[in-house]
């Protein structure tokens, strides 16, 4: 998951079979450092700058208070106290992203295994179906989910016919945020797990059954350890981007389940506090980095244990 920035060593013989020229990586690396590196540097620098007294932007004056402000609240009655509001938002980000990861995993593993056990021609079609949502913009799909979950929408009508229309409210609750997140990230969990499962030789599972293992034993002791790399890749692809979710809490959560990206957006928008928004972004980057390290550490441990 981490970006490997080390260039190939001088001994590289690009003519040797299976080796490529180091210049192949030059263009993508330049592109990435331009589109990822430079904005990150700008955000980092902004987080240490002061604000103008009117209007937007930053002024070139050192101001270190933004990081303090994340943890210390200057209350309206003039007192200062430990600020739990932003920590709560960070906790929300972890909680919703974590729940999304678990949710997508529970849904994705059976689907991936099922696809992997179809005959090869059908598999292609099924994988294609998994990627179908990408054909439409995420914004439009989120609006569609809103129609679905609305108390006066499809789900609401079903609930009314079933007789529990009173207090039927899923849309604009945390539940609706999670439904939206799981829906959005599901393909990112299915695809890597499927890629692992496809390579798994299901005769091992058969052998397990032949030796008298029960279904659960086969699943947990034979199948899951073999597809674990796919699961770990899936976790990385869901949990990490999930931390920075903006659309689902905003559009489906009724604005009440703020995640960190929503707070950053408000600081860049109405609050006109770019440095504070930048400080929060830097914090989000650090958290993401930490999560990435943890996931790759878990992956390495697994590899070592295997060896």
């Amino acid at each position: 998951m981490t970006l490997d920035l080390s260039l190939p060593t001088a001994h590289d013989d690009s003519k040797a079979p299976g080796k490529t020229s180091k210049w192949l990586a030059a263009v993508p690396l330049a592109f990435l450092s331009f589109t990822v590196g430079i904005p990150l540097i700008i955000i980092f620098v902004y987080s240490f700058l002061a604000r103008p007294s009117m209007g937007v932007g930053v002024i070139w004056k050192l101001d270190l208070t933004h990081y303090v402000k994340i943890f210390v609240q200057d209350k309206l009655d003039g007192t200062r106290s430990f600020d739990t509001r932003y920590l709560k938002v960070i906790w929300n980000s972890f909680f919703y992203s974590g729940l999304t990861t678990v949710g997508t995993m529970v849904l994705a593993i059976p689907v991936a295994l099922w696809i992997a056990t179809r005959d090869p021609r059908k598999r292609i079609l099924l994988v294609f179906l998994v990627t179908l949502p990408f054909w439409t913009s995420i914004l439009i799909r989120t609006y569609a989910i809103r129609q679905l979950l609305d108390e006066k929408g499809v789900l609401g009508k079903i609930a009314t016919t079933l007789g529990f229309s009173d207090n039927f409210q899923i849309l604009y609750t945390p539940t609706s945020t999670i439904i939206g997140l799981v829906y959005t990230f599901l393909p990112f969990m299915i695809l890597p797990i499927y890629a692992s499962a496809e390579r798994f030789d299901f005769r091992f599972a058969e052998a397990g059954f032949d030796l008298g293992a029960r279904k659960m034993t086969v699943l947990f002791r034979i199948v899951l350890p073999q597809i674990a790399p796919g699961i770990i890749a899936g976790i990385a692809l869901v949990f990490i981007p999930g931390l920075g979710s903006f659309l689902q809490p905003d559009m489906l959560g009724g604005g009440k389940t703020n995640m960190i990206a929503n707070v950053v957006a408000n600081n860049y928008g109405q609050a006109r506090n770019w440095p504070f928004g930048s400080a929060l972004s830097v914090l989000l980057c650090l958290i993401t980095l930490l999560a990435t390290l943890m996931i790759s550490l878990a992956a390495r441990k697994r590899k070592e244990a295997k060896v």
Binding site: P52, S53, L76, R85, D250, M251, G254, R272, N273
Partner: protein, 368 residues
């Protein structure tokens, strides 16, 4: 005295009379020209370059202007105030009339990007609604004329008894959750409304008195809306998922079209408006034509034509009677004078006050 034959005498007298008369005519013509150049130019063909928001003026209206004045209009469009600012700051020349929003006028005046043409003294300057004369971005209307404006008030469904009683921000924030209230996810709108509800005057909405914000925060503590969202929420009101909503007047007009039970309430403590303005870019190549265009747009008839096309309200006195019946009949857009008086510009606070808004808003959203 050969010279003074009666014939010649008559001729001289005639010539004198004619030349006197001519010079009288000439001098009067001269003073006329002088007066109009210090007062207002007259149309003399040529062109004017209009830089406007996309789809924000009736093309037919521009044709009518050309037909009446002989001045050709070249239209170019932008999509945000920041785009407009960037264009002018980059030294774009060739724009005459531009259409910046409220806060952007203030910024452009301070950057010296607008011509001070004394809009209020234009012949049609008298048609500007007095409520829109002394706005913070252009006190006394020197640089800009009002174009379209919109207010942020309350949409209520009159079929709901509790909703129907709401007449103020105080009522709005006190509405119990059973009434299903929606609110805009907009820090400026929410906090300024709470400040108004706790007795802060419109002119004082950028106060830095923390006790005022503490009172607003206290009011908001009990306010648990069903939805806090950043889009218009038209559908939710039309489908009656919600009965009350903080809403823009333009969207309430659209709600009313689909659900006639919905009406727009001007809160008694007052409400915010945003406004777009016609202004002239510094160094405009067709300064006189730009003045003529703005003056022409300030006539009641053209104000009405603009509103009929955009669906937003204008600030031109006397245009109300000339509106399309559907818009004319909607008090959300064709506000009564009493209601129009309640609207004051959306506060554009300096950093110190804005931080207090952020503080109140952050505390409120994180307690939801």
């Amino acid at each position: 005295m050969k010279f003074f034959t009666p014939k010649i005498g008559v001729a001289i007298a005639l010539a004198a009379a004619v030349s006197l008369g001519l010079s009288a005519c000439g001098s009067s013509a001269k003073t006329d020209t002088a007066a109009s150049s210090s007062e207002f130019p007259t149309a003399n063909g040529g062109e004017v370059n209009l830089y406007n928001w996309t789809n924000y003026i009736d093309p037919e209206q521009l044709k009518a202007f050309t037909a009446e004045t002989g001045i050709k209009v070249n239209l170019d469009t932008f999509d945000s105030n920041e785009t407009l600012l960037a264009k002018l700051q980059a030294g774009a020349t060739g724009y005459d009339v531009i259409v910046p929003s409220d806060y952007m006028v203030a910024q452009m005046v301070s950057l010296g990007l607008l011509e001070n043409v004394g809009v209020a003294s234009f012949p049609n300057g008298k048609n500007i609604d007095p409520n829109f004369m002394d706005v913070y971005w252009d006190k006394g209307r020197q640089y800009s004329a009002p174009y379209m404006y919109g207010t942020t008030g309350i949409a209520v469904n009159t079929s709901n008894a509790a909703a129907n009683k709401i007449a103020s921000w105080k009522d709005f924030f006190a509405a119990d959750s059973a009434t299903s209230v929606d609110v805009l996810k907009d820090q400026t709108e929410v906090v300024s409304a709470a400040l108004r509800a706790t007795g802060v005057a419109a002119a004082d909405l950028c106060t830095v008195d923390k006790s005022k914000y503490a009172a607003a925060q206290k009011l908001l503590e009990g306010f648990k809306p069903k939805v806090i969202d950043s889009d218009g929420g038209i559908e939710r009101m039309v489908k009656e998922s919600s009965m009350v909503r903080m809403a823009w007047n333009g969207s309430v007009h659209r709600m009313g079209v689909d659900n006639p039970k919905i009406k727009y309430v001007f809160p008694s403590e007052g409400l915010n408006f945003w406004a777009d303005n016609l202004a002239i870019a510094k160094g405009a190549p067709n300064l006189d034509n730009a003045k003529i265009f703005i003056n022409w747009m300030l006539s009641p008839k053209q104000g009405a034509v603009a509103t009929n096309f955009t669906g937003y309200a204008n600030a031109v006195l006397g245009s109300g009677d000339l509106l399309d019946p559907a818009i004319k009949a909607d008090p959300a857009i064709n506000a009564s004078p009493e209601n129009a008086k309640l609207a004051t510009p959306t506060p554009n606070c300096p950093t110190e006050a804005r931080d207090l808004y952020t503080e109140v808003f952050t505390s409120w959203t994180s307690s939801q």
